[in-house]
């Protein structure tokens, strides 16, 4: 009996993606996302190339534009790091959105009640307030998970919705509402509480440096400390950690505290670095974008900073794009989601390969 084998192709999953394959996969994902964006431009009746060009000009076309891009990137670095820390431990903190609110609110509460002090006192109070507010609000979800086994995905999403109403309650005819004001917002904050500017001619503020410092700190924690060891281990095998004597309940709370604290700082930079007053519009949206930033940055602090600057550029450039081409700036949020989907798919597809096999 002759054993003849006919070549045929089969798609197989591989155990480890090779770096080259990963690079190609991500490149293809980027190309795919750009093509879909181009189609969305066309759908809005704009020339894609012109729209991309004005997007680029709006984000990096001048010193002022570049500074503004970094201003927009700042809260995204914080929320991206927040997601990065939690996701590394496979704790799905989807609540950065609400934790940004909580950080801003706690910081405002502390600073508001402090009274007039020099900047040297007020700024640390504001920063610590953001850390405490975001951290505690996240720890609440951690507590719900460890004490009542409430899934953190769902509890953090619910907490995101709840805090929006809490803020609204405090702002609208509440204790924080601006005297005689019509909008749901506080009065302007004390000048000495605001974050100092860095470069003349831009609005770039100290918060950006804080964000970079936070990225370095997170990187050190993850790679060099016992806590980082536990975070990475939890992301791989929580049970083994438990069996070998780590208090994993406490670890979950600690991770949530850390993640929430980072998110809370985003609230501080927006209120005290950009808008100088507390209102929902100042702090909304960064939490969800931060999750995309974290994943595009491959859950690595350096990647998070890079992805945050890219997203900052998109947000910033969109305004000019809308003026020049009439493409609604809301497109940016669609683009973010499309990028995420393509990257997830591209990343996953690196794990597949075509293989030539003999016929059985």
């Amino acid at each position: 009996m002759t054993d003849f084998s006919i070549a045929e192709w089969r798609i197989e999953r591989r155990r480890e993606a090779r770096p080259a394959a990963r690079f190609i996969g991500l490149g293809a994902a980027l190309a795919g996302a750009i093509i879909v964006c181009g189609m969305l431009f066309l759908a809005a009746g704009a020339e894609p190339l012109k729209a991309f060009a004005s997007l680029a000009k709006g984000s990096f076309g001048s010193l002022r534009a570049t500074g503004e891009t970094l201003v927009k990137a700042t809260p995204l670095i914080f929320t991206g790091l927040a997601a990065c820390v939690a996701f590394r431990a496979r704790i799905w903190n989807i609540g950065a959105e609400g934790q940004v609110f909580a950080g801003a609110m706690f910081a405002y509460w502390a600073q508001h009640n402090l009274g007039e002090f020099p900047a040297l006192v007020q700024i640390p109070v504001v920063v610590m307030g953001g850390i405490a507010g975001g951290g505690l609000y996240a720890a609440l979800a951690g507590l719900l998970k460890t004490r009542f086994s409430v899934d953190e995905v769902i509890s953090t999403v619910m907490l995101n919705y709840i805090i929006v109403y809490v803020l609204s309650l405090l702002l609208l005819r509440g204790p924080w509402s601006e005297a005689g004001g019509f909008f749901e917002q506080t009065a302007r904050v004390d000048r000495d509480a605001t974050l100092p500017m860095l470069i003349a001619g831009t609005r770039l503020h100290m918060g950006f440096l804080l964000a970079l410092a936070a990225a370095v700190l997170v990187h050190l924690i993850l790679t060099r400390t016992p806590l980082g060891y536990e975070i990475r281990a939890a992301g791989s095998n929580l049970r083994a950690l438990d069996v070998q004597g780590t208090n994993t309940r406490r670890l979950i709370i600690v991770v949530m505290l850390l993640s929430g604290a980072l998110a809370g700082l985003a609230g501080v930079t927006e209120v005290y670095g950009v808008h100088y007053r507390l209102k929902a519009g100042a702090v909304a949206g960064y939490g969800y974008s931060g999750i995309i930033v974290a994943i595009l940055g491959q859950l690595h602090p350096v990647g998070v900073v890079a992805a945050a600057i890219l997203f900052g550029a998109l947000l910033n450039g969109a305004t000019l794009m809308q003026i020049e081409t009439g493409v609604p700036s809301a497109l940016i949020y669609a683009i973010q989601a499309i990028l995420l989907l393509f990257f997830l798919a591209g990343w996953a597809m690196c794990n597949f390969r075509l293989r030539r096999t003999g016929r059985v």
Binding site: R13, L40, A43, A44, G45, W92, I94, L144, F148, S149, V150, D151, V153, I154, S155, V157, M158, L159, Y161, I162, Y165, V166, S168, L169, L172, Y288, I291, I292, I295, G326, V327, P328, A330, L331, I332, Y333, A334, I335, Q336, A337, I338, L340, L341, L344, A345, W347, A348, M349
Partner: protein
């Protein structure tokens, strides 16, 4: 005498509103129930509902037919679910992250498209909305008539889907297969049944139902589209499935609890009781967390829920 009559009418109107408000939640929750029974956590429900609401509105506006809108909404939900299914079943991407991406896509795309389509008018045009269809005879019954039998067709459909989904899951051959996929997919694989095919079908069904739920919000009752108009209903539907212990009738009960709270809230606002409206609006989310806290067992959860199946 007059007082008690007033109370009675308020009760009837709260009850009728409960049934109406339950419709989108019930549709989405029943779809999610089937998807989760097959082992897939569809965390993209919110985005599918929202996109269904938008496309439903847009199609109804363009075509002038509400039913075209409803059909388009269902198809939109199903199409998004197919993308989700490809990502999590075929590519085995993390279900939570993919779901989030789908949600953000729904929010971003619907807002962008809305602005792009109606930028000139500034305001989104209002379309006609579905009228109530009283069922002859039954709607004349005292009390229960106006509550149960004077509703929109989609509402009747949603409530009829409860026994239908129950029958599908617990009385048919396919139901057995779907539940097996959620509890032990390998037991299907060794029988030569494709686990992926079962899960694709269940997830796409879930998306279709979520799209219909979205359509009820825009085409069915509001007669317009507002960005983020689902406002967490997709997430509430997921919670309802958990609180309903993955059983159709318990899911119905959980849906009614949440929609009763919402209806009550509307009524309280309507008669001007001095409670800040924010407290009323946040109530469903607080109750959702409490519901998950008091739920004692996950014994009914599909054993392999959320875990992608692969042979090796």
């Amino acid at each position: 005498m007059f007082e008690s009559f007033l109370q009675a009418t308020i009760l009837v109107s709260v009850a009728a509103a409960t049934i109406r408000i339950a419709t989108p939640l019930l549709l989405a929750a029943l779809g999610e129930l089937v998807a989760e029974r097959s082992g897939v956590y569809n965390m993209g429900l919110e985005g599918m509902m929202l996109m269904g609401a938008f496309i439903g509105y847009l199609s109804a506006h363009q075509s002038g037919s509400l039913w075209v809108g409803v059909a388009a909404a269902g198809l939109t939900g199903a199409a998004m679910a197919a993308v989700f299914a490809f990502m999590v079943i075929t590519l085995k991407v993390e279900q939570i992250v993919t779901g989030l991406a789908v949600n953000l896509l729904g929010a971003g795309l619907s807002t962008y498209w809305l602005r792009a389509a109606f930028s000139d008018s500034g305001q989104t045009p209002v379309i006609p909305f579905f009228e109530n269809v009283p069922i002859p005879v039954l709607s004349q019954l005292p009390v229960v008539g106006p509550i149960l039998f004077d509703q929109k067709l989609l509402t009747y459909f949603a409530f009829l889907m409860v026994p239908a989904v129950w029958f599908l899951l617990f009385r048919t051959r396919y139901g057995l297969i779907i539940r097996c996929a959620g509890d032990n997919p390998k037991a299907l694989d060794v029988k030569g049944v494709s686990v992926a095919a079962v899960q694709y079908a269940a997830v796409v069904f879930g998306g279709l139902m979520a799209g219909l739920g979205g359509a009820f919000l825009s085409v069915g009752s509001a007669a317009r589209f507002v960005p983020d108009m689902t406002n967490g209903r997709g997430w509430l539907a997921i919670i309802i499935v958990i609180a309903g212990l993955w059983r159709p009738y318990a899911v119905l009960a959980a849906t009614l609890v949440f929609s009763f709270l919402d209806a009550l809230q509307l009524q309280i606002q309507g008669i001007g009781i001095a409670i800040p409206y924010q407290l009323l609006l946040m109530m469903p989310y607080v109750v959702a967390i409490i519901a998950l806290m008091v739920r004692r067992s996950r014994a009914n959860a599909p054993a392999m829920l959320g875990m992608p199946y692969s042979r090796e």
